[in-house]
Amino acid sequence: MTATATTPRTGRPGQEPLLSVRDLRVTFRRQGEEPFTAVDGVSFDVRPGQTVGLVGESGCGKSVTSLAIMGLLPARGNTVEGTATYDGTDLLGLPPDQMRDRRGRDIAMIFQDPLSSLNPVIPIGLQVTEVLERHRGMRRRAARPLARDLLDRVGIPDPDRRLTDYPHQLSGGMRQRALIAMALACEPRLLIADEPTTALDVTIQAQILRLLKELVEETGTALVMITHDLGVVAGLCDEVNVLYGGRIVERGERHELFAAPRHPYTSGLLASIPRLDGARGAPLTPIPGSVADNLPWESACAFAPRCSQPVQRCTAETPRLEESAGRALRCFNPVEVTR
């Protein structure tokens, strides 16, 4: 147990966290296979109105983290340990029907691929009103004007007509807007967005991110933003958690993290994103290797084989997540701060 329950001290001090995840561990068990721990002792806080990023490469456990919090992991074949305290209640310990009452009302989620995330045979309007019917006890007729206003609010033109449209009749950007409308229908206090822009064109991506930013600012909704793209994080998040191999390796306030990444993985991620202000033709440097090279966290730093500056300890000992002054770091040989 290296990732002990630590209390992150970033965000807006003085405010109680809205969601507090402690030591979240998700292990998949399949018959005839080794158990696989996809999320390994993850802890983080989300304060009301705050936007928190979960960043990392494909397969590092971002989606599993969010699905575990939402209670949406498959019913069988996995174990979830730890706690996710929302407003004083541990969501992970809730009976399924109580969690069902909260999903869509207290916590909502939007997903990566808007087309496949919408039901193809149901009109957009009903996919919005059904949330209101469920959690607000509204009649479908009464919910319709509200659904219309929601579509309007997320910037869908001609919302009256769109209510009766089917998902395939909308553009990709509009579909994601519709999903956002559904998620915000009951004014949840927490929204989890799992790579909401990955499946969209670059120009649309920017629009959707701007919309999300506006909406969370307007409504005071806290946002957990999951992405593999630090560029997305840059414009949106107050605090960033960097995940590697199922564990948080670095956490910090956005500006600090960007200005002075301490974990070689974070610094590698930063070096690999194209920057508008960078010199033209400046080479992008991807992180060498892949997650397939990971060492087991139990006896080493999983990132060591891909690290640009490993020391001997890295392959012999598990680094702990050390907290200091609002930052957290899991590294034996951090990047020097050059300032």
Binding site: F111, L118, P120, V121
Partner: protein, 335 residues
Amino acid sequence: MARFIIRRLLQMVVVVFVLSLMLFFWLRSLPGGTVSAILGERATPQTRAALTKALGLDQPVWVQYWRFVERAAHGEFGTSTRVLPGADALDIFLSRLPATIELSFFALLLAVVLAIPLGYLSARRAGSPLDSGLVVTSLVGVAVPVFFLAFLLKYQLAVEHHVFPVSGRQDNLSCTRVTNFFVLDGLLTREYDCSVSALKHLVLPSLALATIPFAVIYRITRASVLEVLGEDYVRTAESKGLTARVIRGRHVLRNALLPVVTTIGLQTGGLLAGAVLTEKVFNWGGIGNALADAFEGRDYAVLQVLILAAAMIYVVINLLVDISYAVIDPRVRTR
């Protein structure tokens, strides 16, 4: 939509024309033939020749075919030589139709009503003993020959133990006939004992006829629900906290039923094959019986009408399937 339906109906005309041509030549190339069937093998060549001439079978086949088309255009499909000698072939078909429709309807109803809920349940509990048990049952269902099953049911539940009647469509109750759908007639005329008797007679043949459609529809439902359960939009529905009932009905079943509807259509078309055998075992007196009798007696006129009508029914059912597809799936509708 209207254009789509018209196009399909035109396709049907082509299908029926080509089929009639093939059927006509194929029937006449069969060994035996109408004349031997009527007169037996020992008739003198003179009598044979006379009958052959009387039936118009001495003409070249393409002349016969042309005559057939000409008369068919006027709604005449020839007279029966064996099933009901001298009767109009079309009349035979029409009078036998209600029996077969009633049987097929109940068989299909039975299959659908059992297969869809069980398929759904199986998928929800994939890998459980219930699921495995049902999968094996459905495998047995497709593997057992209908004829054998019909015979087994009849022997066990009608002959050995008198739970259900042995054969026929109804006890002799002197019931009033309205539509010739016996269950319906009983309801219409308030002769409820007639309906009950007809239902009792329907149980075993429907059961026998339902097995294959049940097994196929069950398997398709199971597979389809399994696939839909893994879809992103089901996860979205879960993330909205919708009740299990809404997720099941609105989000899972509606999508999962698309391939099932096609399957039901195909199975309906395929019922005729099973009906021939089932009707024979239970002496049902429907199209299946007529088809078997007509084939044995080389009753060309009846065979032609029955097979062409079956083909038309098949095409119409497929059209209905496509229409219902468009009703369920908006992506098809707007295309």
